[in-house]
């Protein structure tokens, strides 16, 4: 593979790669750094690339290893991350002025429920063990095959299947208990609250009905509801969506809050 071919392949993969690393680290800076380090590392090793996997798989392998190194000493988040961070946001006098400023200055600061669903899944997935989180993101969001994930993580196909299965089961359980979009007794109403603040003229029920998994909330097949949720996540580019600046601000806030909690422990 020539340098030019590699650079072309890398640039094709870059947006997906950056989104993937953001979803794992929840840090804009770390995702930018890791993507750049991946480029440098891969470009230095082009000669060692034997074509045993696609270039995309190879790039994601390098990036996954860098992300794992980055997260090795960091604590996993808790399932109630959005509750914790909501409290902190409400008690922070700078939080809403910062958001208002983003809304006034950015073209990408519209609040859209589907983007908040993507943000929410990013936060919740950080409560999974790292291997489970990586497997579910690679398979269900970035559309890698089980055999490719096995190469990326250097684990057996059987273990990829195990991590995927347990990740899905845990996500279903968490959303079942928390997400008011699918369960009337769900404890988290954050997307409706925020929609009320940012889009006061919208009828939330109407907006909710545009969300496929919310519309089918009574479907007993909860695996299917998770698939519909993941389909939304797949459709959102967290760096280039209509509300990316807003959602990235939320995510940075949550990461800082969770980092602070971990440091205090």
């Amino acid at each position: 593979m020539t340098n030019e071919q590699f650079t072309n392949e890398f640039e094709k993969a870059r947006p997906q790669l950056k989104a993937y690393i953001l979803r794992i680290t929840a840090s804009i800076q770390d995702s930018e750094d890791i993507v750049q380090d991946t480029f440098i590392k891969a470009s230095e090793k082009i000669d060692a690339f034997r074509g045993e996997s696609s270039v995309r798989t190879w790039i994601f392998t390098i990036a996954s290893n860098l992300a794992k190194d980055n997260l090795r000493t960091k604590k996993r988040w808790t399932e109630n991350v959005t509750d914790i961070c909501r409290e902190k946001a409400l008690s922070n006098p700078n939080y809403f002025p910062e958001i208002m400023k983003i809304q006034q200055t950015s073209q990408q600061a519209k609040f859209e429920i589907k983007e908040h669903i993507n943000f929410c899944l990013t936060c919740i997935s950080k409560s999974l063990p790292l291997e489970q989180q990586i497997c579910i993101l690679l398979k269900e969001v970035h559309e890698f095959k089980v055999s490719e994930i096995s190469k990326i993580l250097d684990i057996t196909v059987a273990m990829v299947k195990y991590y995927l299965h347990t990740a899905r089961a845990k996500m279903i359980k968490i959303f079942e208990g928390r997400c008011a979009l699918i369960n009337k007794k769900g404890t988290c109403h954050q997307c409706s609250e925020l929609n009320g603040i940012f889009n006061p003229k919208q009828n939330f029920e109407e907006e909710k009905n545009k969300i496929e998994f919310a519309k089918k909330a009574n479907d007993p097949n909860r695996e299917y509801l998770l698939d519909l949720r993941l389909k939304i996540v797949k459709s959102v580019d967290p760096f280039n969506s209509n509300g990316s600046d807003l959602q990235l601000h939320h995510l940075e806030h949550n990461r800082k809050v969770m980092d602070n909690i971990a440091e205090k422990k």
Partner: protein
């Protein structure tokens, strides 16, 4: 009791000072999947209808707290005594020990065996108070088979 049919039926043998229950079953799944299920404490209650909860890390020398459907009011404080990766796991207390063994017996086919031996000098005094394990063992083996095969067959 080493020669037990791999049919998921539990067998109990009693002696004056001990009782042993064993179950064995062949599972159409990779050994690592079964091992992962057996060693993920937090996840047990999701797939195993005989366990209410297990707290702690299933790792050599670690202590775990187990609540079983068989005796829901009691919390068993157990120590992981052996941890032979993907082969053999033993936990227990002064009264008894539970042993899990896994053997590859074919292509993605694993034999699972679970044994619990309880006993000691005081065993005859409390033997009648301990419920039979057979049904619970059979359920455990069946649940494990169902979950492991579901994972193995996932795409």
């Amino acid at each position: 009791m080493t020669n037990v049919a791999s049919d998921g039926k539990a067998l109990t043998s009693k002696k004056n000072f001990s009782r042993e229950t064993v179950v064995s079953i062949d599972i159409q799944a990779n050994k690592s999947i079964i091992w992962a299920l057996l060693t993920n404490a937090e996840d047990y209650s999701r797939w195993n209808s005989t366990i209410i909860s297990i707290e702690g890390d299933v790792a050599k020398g670690e202590k775990i707290k187990l609540k079983s459907v068989l005796d829901p009011k009691r919390t068993f404080k157990l120590k992981v005594k052996e941890f032979g990766a993907e082969n053999r796991l033993v936990w227990g207390d002064a009264m008894g020990k539970r042993t899990y063994t896994l053997k590859t017996v074919g292509d993605e086919l694993t034999n699972f065996m679970m044994t619990e031996k309880i006993g000691g000098p005081m065993f005859p005094l409390f033997a009648k108070m301990i419920p039979p394990f057979d049904q619970s063992f059979e359920k455990f083996a069946k649940d494990l088979m169902k979950e492991a095969e579901l994972i193995q067959n996932s795409k």
